[in-house]
Amino acid sequence: MPSKALHLLAFALLLAAAQAAHALLPIEHWETQRGARVYFVQNRDLPMLDVSVDFPAGAAFDTREKSGRANLTAHMLRLGAGGMDEDEISRRMADVGAQLAGRFDPDRAGAGVRTLSSAKERQQAIELLARILARPEFSATVLEREKVRLTGALKEADTKPDTIAARTFARMLYPKHPYGLRSSGEVGTVTTLTREDLASFHRSHYTADRAVIAMMGDVTREEAAAIAEALTAGLPATGGAAPTVPPVPALEKGAERWVVHHATQSHILMGTPGVSRGDPDYFPLFVGNYVLGGGGFQSRLTEEVRTKRGLAYSAYSYFSPMLREGPFAVGLQTQASGARDALAVVRKTVADFIAQGPTAKELAAAKKNIVGGFPLRIDSNRKILENLAVIGFYRMPLTYLDDFTTNVERVTAEQVKAAFQRRIDPNRLATVVVGPSGESTAKAN
């Protein structure tokens, strides 16, 4: 008997070792013939496939003069391509039940599709996706219409307190950097964009060698390879040196801006340029932010602003890591008469956290939630696809998800405090308050 028990134990250890070596999410990675990076996870549980193709072609690649060019290029892809007009593309997608989705953020632009994995449906969906990525027509008449729609939407958005706050905030954080440009462009710049502006942006930014393809679902490795080739075969050839996003200068001094708006609530945003993807401070900041304002009811901001004082429905903070330092932001909306009180509470909460860091108890609770909740980050095809797209675009390690919980566990309270102190100076924060009690002044603080 003892020998058998021992044998079983040895077997269990072997099994554990084998599992440890086996990745949590086996990501297959290769390059297409034309140099596109592919990230693929096979899953046959559901008869469907998700694919996305992204390029470094987001709003950060705009210039001030042609602000909105990147957005309009991405937006126009599906509105006519390779001899098919917009209606034919929409009809053919719908005919096979496929769902086309665009992606556009400060760094990335592209398109993707969700389709059934059965051969006929899948082939038609992939063929359409390849066509719109490689051969968009940027029809002048469609462009004129879309410019009217877009400028109307921009003017509409400019009446909303949350938009006004977000735009003011971005300009304060990035006064001379493309991250400070409005991602969809300004009314004044959008109206001047031409068909050739978009076509040339497409030629120079949607090139095969810079494409990042994420793929998740019910196809074999061979089928995935063929799909990746089909999606990149017709893309423009490389346009020379890769486009880059300039470094982000730190804020020189703090500033507070009050903007009058006749709403019942004041919208408050406060922050500074934060952290870039792949930065060694990322995990301490991410875990620390759970304690400060990322952890919902467990966060200090919610506790101080909502639970203790009933000043707001939501109060939060986040880091948004990008190619360069994306924003660190604290936000809330509060009844106009309470704006000053709420702002004082938020300032003190942020300053205290930066000065002292998290308590041992807070840090432990943050880790428990993030580590225990890790399975929720990869519990659907959609979420896995989004992870693949980020890992690929930002060239993160293929083991990023496997190492995620270890990296979280490793974070110490000292690291959190040090990282926050390196990144955020409470005396150099940009603050904007949009609401009825504003005096429309700007002042240094």
Partner: protein, 424 residues
Amino acid sequence: MRVIVKSDHRAPVVVSMVWYKVGSIDERSGTTGVAHVLEHMLFKGTKAVPSGEFSRIIAEAGGRDNAFTSRDYTGYYQTLHKSQLALVMRLEADRMVNALLAPEEFAKEIKVVMEERRWRTDDRPRSLVYEQLNAAAFRAHPYRNPVIGWMSDLENMRVQDAREFYDAWYAPNNATLVVVGDVTPEEVFKLARQHFGPLPRKTLPLRRITEEPQQLGPQDLTVRAPAELPYVLMNYKAPVLRDPDADWEPYALEMLANVLDGNEAARLNRTLVRTARIASSASAYYDGVARGPGTFSLSGTPTPGKTARELEQALRREVEKLIAEGVTEEELQRVKAQAVASHVYERDSMFYQAQQIGSLTMAGLSHRVIDLFVEKLKAVTAEQVVAVAKKYLVDSGLTVAYLDPQPLSGKKPAGPPPGVRHAQ
């Protein structure tokens, strides 16, 4: 208590939702919004689990939790690792009967809800349009009241109102537990019996819900609020699904909404946005699953330079054209292909599946309707689509609301919300 389990073994995760068949439809004049306020208060402690502890325990178990209140129901959910299911059940069973509803917590939370109302509705012109339209379209039925409640009712609300509502409606026999995830029905039933089994049944109040008298003619209203673009929302009275096997009109109305607006090449976008360029956006919507009366709505934003009334006329012309000329087999096939595909895509989200099951159950329907729906939609004919358009998209059941944009300076938005999600 009814328990519905759907196994989904793709990830070691479980979604657990407790649905109470009580929403703003069950409220009385003077205390509108109480269902939603009570939802907030259910995070404010029991004797065993003090205020704030519920969310803290779920968070430390790696979970996410929240709640939602609608016209027809109130729901509480957690998403977390499957090993934590027993914990969730213990906590939900506890607050089903032991909520403290402390006055000092209420005093703070009612302020939070008022902030929520300002944020959701008072400062959002289109939410105001929706709220005002409902108040006009329903003269007597409680669907006329916003889920979040009228501001004066929130101002006047007392903790006793929440207490009375809780005592009346929170009981296992008014609840449905929906669990989707990496579990077996047997283990869930066992846990449910253990935690909810000992809770006492209650005699529920009579559900005396005023029926909406028949609308006798078209009506319209205007909302003036700070905005740039006008907007029009047209609401037609329509039936809802009551007998999923025998009814056919709700499926035909669903098909109608999709022929008009089910994809980018569908009629409203193709004609009004892309070709005629009278609209910046245009949509059609039908929700055939509800405890109360149904609506079919058309809405849109005119393109700059066009008015809301012009867009309304254009929307009406699309309906008239559909009635006069019918719909093509190609259009029907396209919608059916989309429905078949969507039925597969839905299975990628455990949360969505749980929501579908819960909302059907609350409307008195079986979760089996999820599968039946695709088959029924496939069976809809072109004649049926025209027939329901002719019968329901008519003036006599129409309420139109226009947003009349006002300049930003000086004007204050006038008044108030739709479905309310959430507590956090």
